[in-house]
Symmetry: C2
Subunit: 471 residues, 2 copies
Amino acid sequence: MQGTAEPAHGAGVIDVLREALGTDVVSLPAEFSGRRHADSSRMPCAEPVALLRPRTTEQVATALRICHEHGQPVVTQGGLSGLAGGACLLGGEVALSLELMNAIEEIDPVSATMTVQAGVPLQSVQEAAAAAGFMFPLDLGARGSATIGGNLATNAGGNRVIRYGMMREQALDIEAVLADGSVIGGRRKMIKNNTGYDLRNLLIGSEGTLGVITRAVLRLRSKSHAVSTAWCGVPDYESVTALLRMAQERLPAGVSAFEVMWPGYYDFVLSRLPELRAPLTGRHAFYVLLESSGADSVSQNAAFEAFLADMLEAGTLGDAALAATEAHAAAFWAIRDAPGEYGRLIPGRVSFDVSFSIADVGEAARRCDERLRAQWPDAHILIYGHLGDGNLHIVVQQPDWPASAAAEVKLVVYGVTAEMNGSVSAEHGIGTKKLDVLALSRSPAELATMRALKAALDPRGILNPGKLFAS
Amino acid sequence: MQGTAEPAHGAGVIDVLREALGTDVVSLPAEFSGRRHADSSRMPCAEPVALLRPRTTEQVATALRICHEHGQPVVTQGGLSGLAGGACLLGGEVALSLELMNAIEEIDPVSATMTVQAGVPLQSVQEAAAAAGFMFPLDLGARGSATIGGNLATNAGGNRVIRYGMMREQALDIEAVLADGSVIGGRRKMIKNNTGYDLRNLLIGSEGTLGVITRAVLRLRSKSHAVSTAWCGVPDYESVTALLRMAQERLPAGVSAFEVMWPGYYDFVLSRLPELRAPLTGRHAFYVLLESSGADSVSQNAAFEAFLADMLEAGTLGDAALAATEAHAAAFWAIRDAPGEYGRLIPGRVSFDVSFSIADVGEAARRCDERLRAQWPDAHILIYGHLGDGNLHIVVQQPDWPASAAAEVKLVVYGVTAEMNGSVSAEHGIGTKKLDVLALSRSPAELATMRALKAALDPRGILNPGKLFAS
């Protein structure tokens, strides 16, 4: 990297921006007081020196060209639902919000694509897709506020990755403005396009450090007319992975969700949220929410039931409850979605979003649980995740902890992650929150390569400095 | 780009390579005379100044470090089945063949992964996956010679992209040696891993210009126990796209192939290859090979038949033949696979591999056909492709053509590609063959960005110079 430019905040650059873009696009601190700037990571966040709210890609390009010339740092912001601090400000930056670039520009039903501006919320895309007879598969709790641009910048995951992939699999093309104001990509709807380097995937997941994503051509999928859902009690981890493998091989419509919950999680949320009801009697070593979504409800449901019966017969399942109605299925999902209540239930928690090979997830969870329990016998240790993707969420909390405990908990969980060749961030990204552990999942050669790419595309280091890499 | 290094062939660097790696790894021209160096593109190809056949990643790293120091150009070679000249030599390069790095290192049935060296042929991977109870979905005609490394370097496509994606979707991780000999990536089996820039996708499809791919962790899929196949006659293009959409929405196992053939292709191959038999009587505006692959043959076949009956009833299909046996299905595929006989059937042909949005494919084909026919009324014009991916193959030939005709044919087809915002290379890549048309599918800002990335990762320009970019 050729060195991060010194922040040049103060009169000069902001005046130039206001002159070029107008005062409706560029506001000063006095004009946006009280506005929220922090994302959902609970990381510290400064005030921006100015707020830019462009309406067009051309305005974004003008803004970046000026900031590039002046070495003015820029933090791009979407729905502020990120969990890693990627959209927080460290001080001296302008905030570039895409909130006014929220148009759904086109739905092409023959090509099964939707072209949108980056500031459109995820839920609007889902609803527009449904209204057009399609489905947009990415889904996550913050769907109402998270924007497509933020989903792309962080390569968002969620519950349906096992079937449809991460956000990077949902975009056929993206338009992005680079640090110097040049614009790449845009409106291509091709599924296959082998014409040089994959700039799209380089920008996706780069957390605002390589460019500002302004537009995307999203891929729409066929609606699932039939959803089969079961709540499963499973006797051991080998049976969990066997169930996954058999379900993928034998269910006619495949597996659209395979969410695994360890008993510590299950017992905790059932005991704390009185509206939840246990789908099964008896305790099990693991709980699995299994879902299969396809075209034809009659044959699919019959096959789903027959599959569960076979798995019970074989002992792979200890017990299972089939959702007979949508309300049943929603009740199962409510148990898995309980983390939406964490803010109220477990303040002061330490949360992890790690991943391993599917073969290693069970052992990784066992080691984390064992070592955490040895050190903090009374802590709540909640483990659950999208097992089909190897993605484990771990939440640890003890009411009377000193502030120093978080660092010690991280040592344990990231220690296991490093020793089992896992990833310190499966789906939330690095931002500022995981800067200090990125090197556990990336080699020095990989980090040097990332820095070389950053220097090539943003030589003055104006885009989201201090994120992903320490600046 | 900081400028391509002058080729430093001659005594110095080759001696250093032989000294460091041994004469069994580094051979001189006299030691490999008669060996084939050209790929399958029919582009010109020079002799290498030396042939490197490393056995380990460390040897590849040593070789590149030395070549980097000496500014010695390197062309990486796999199975030499490429169609764009990406593995051909322009003169002065060493050839780096990965043929001895062909081990299947591990199959992990729980994680559903296979770890391989880059030189292993695609067919070996397919067979090893099948023997382990899985399926590796990438498939193309050159499966016996094409290597996984070459598939990755060119982001290979083929017949099953509609369901499983391109080669980039089949690799969870790749190991690659960069120009300076540093090694990135390797053995991660995680499906989700948001830890910084997507180096994997940057290397995949970069045609040997950014690094040498040495190892991959491949993702295995569940075996399809049941395959339903139909040959369809379709009355118009609107019905072709309606059939695709309805099949994706209604077939319980989805669509695993949707191959469309225009009558000019169909009539030509049926008339020239006596072993082919027409699956349907009567002529149709379009022929579609429709395949659905899933878990359960009984319910799937019933749904497939019912779907075809509905489409016939609605007039979306003019006629359809269901493959009752595997031999029937193979006979349908033989019609689609006739391009394997092109070498014998249509010498001197001009071939295209372009893509469009699915909505535009019909009109693009119509324009190409109309304009080609106006200029060359007697030419064979064969049009067919993976329509579900927007990928069109066009082959044009007239027996008595002068050598200059090829350039004129290209003007027509790439003219349509440019005016309809298509891609000049859907799946074959750019290599040297499409250098002159890359700018029709990539903007000046995109090309500048690619050059900046190339300069960042290969500052001396030793990796496959003259490919992808004119050097």
